[in-house]
């Protein structure tokens, strides 16, 4: 019984340790909003936001949508 409990404790510690080492991606933006200010009608304007992965694993499947 005591041996089984010891195995269980070791298994839990191992699982927690493995999870903490797996790493997580974290997205960071250069800014969260951009104001064009006074902009003429019937025109197209653009701005570049920078995205950085500041996490501890690869950031995947990045896509953007403007509704």
């Amino acid at each position: 019984m005591r041996l089984r409990s010891s195995f269980l404790v070791i298994a839990v510690i191992f699982a927690v340790h493995s999870f903490s080492q797996a790493g997580t991606p974290k997205i960071e933006f250069s800014e969260r909003n951009w104001d064009f200010g006074r902009t003429p009608q019937q025109s197209t304007v653009s701005h570049i936001f920078w995205i950085k992965n500041v996490g501890t694993d690869t950031l995947k499947g990045i896509s953007a949508r403007v509704p």
């Binding site: 790493g23 997580t24 991606p25 974290k26 997205i27 933006f29 969260r32 909003n33 951009w34 104001d35 064009f36 200010g37 006074r38 902009t39 003429p40 009608q41 019937q42 025109s43 197209t44 304007v45 653009s46 701005h47 570049i48 936001f49 920078w50 995205i51 950085k52 992965n53 500041v54 996490g55 501890t56 694993d57 690869t58 950031l59 995947k60 499947g61 990045i62 896509s63 953007a64 949508r65 403007v66 509704p67």
Partner: protein, 160 residues
């Protein structure tokens, strides 16, 4: 978007284009960004534009043209164009180019202070390595003085 996957510490650009259409009011558009980051929770960006009919008569600064359209003189050769900002009031303003499409255009002010009754020029020139086809970008200026506001000038080229 140039990359859809980023290694640890890597970065990429996300270009958002916005067509103003016939709007006549301040417009805010949300941009939803999806990725494998499920921890941050934040995935929303915003762009805002104070869309104005031409001419923009509410300012004590007149400017023209409202947008720049470059015509190709020879293959890959474009003339420099300029926007003139003219004071119509008694206030002094400072101008600063805060955003322009690096790698596509060069944008320079001939001076940063607009004195009453005077003029400031924004000179814009496409770079030599401009890609073929239609390029639509914009230049944003911060104007400071008694009032603080921004002005965005759309720029477009048609190259062969």
């Amino acid at each position: 978007m140039k990359k859809t996957e980023l290694a640890i510490g890597d970065s990429t650009e996300l270009e958002i284009s916005y067509s103003t259409g016939a709007a006549q009011t301040p417009e805010t558009k949300p941009v939803t960004v999806s990725s494998s980051d499920t921890v941050s929770g934040f995935n929303r960006l915003e762009i805002t534009a104070d869309v104005k009919p031409k001419p923009d008569t509410l300012l004590d600064i007149g400017y023209a043209p409202y947008s720049l359209e470059f015509k190709e003189r020879k293959k890959g050769k474009f003339e420099e164009m300029k926007v003139e900002f003219t004071s119509k009031g008694q206030k002094e303003y400072r101008f600063k180019v805060i955003d322009y499409p690096r790698g596509f255009f060069e944008a320079k002010l001939n001076q940063e202070t607009l004195m009453p009754g005077k003029m400031v020029e924004l000179k814009v020139k496409p770079v030599k390595t401009l890609p073929a086809g239609t390029v639509k970008k914009s230049i944003t200026l911060q104007v400071s003085g008694e009032n603080e506001f921004r002005i965005t000038i759309p720029v477009k080229t048609e190259g062969s």
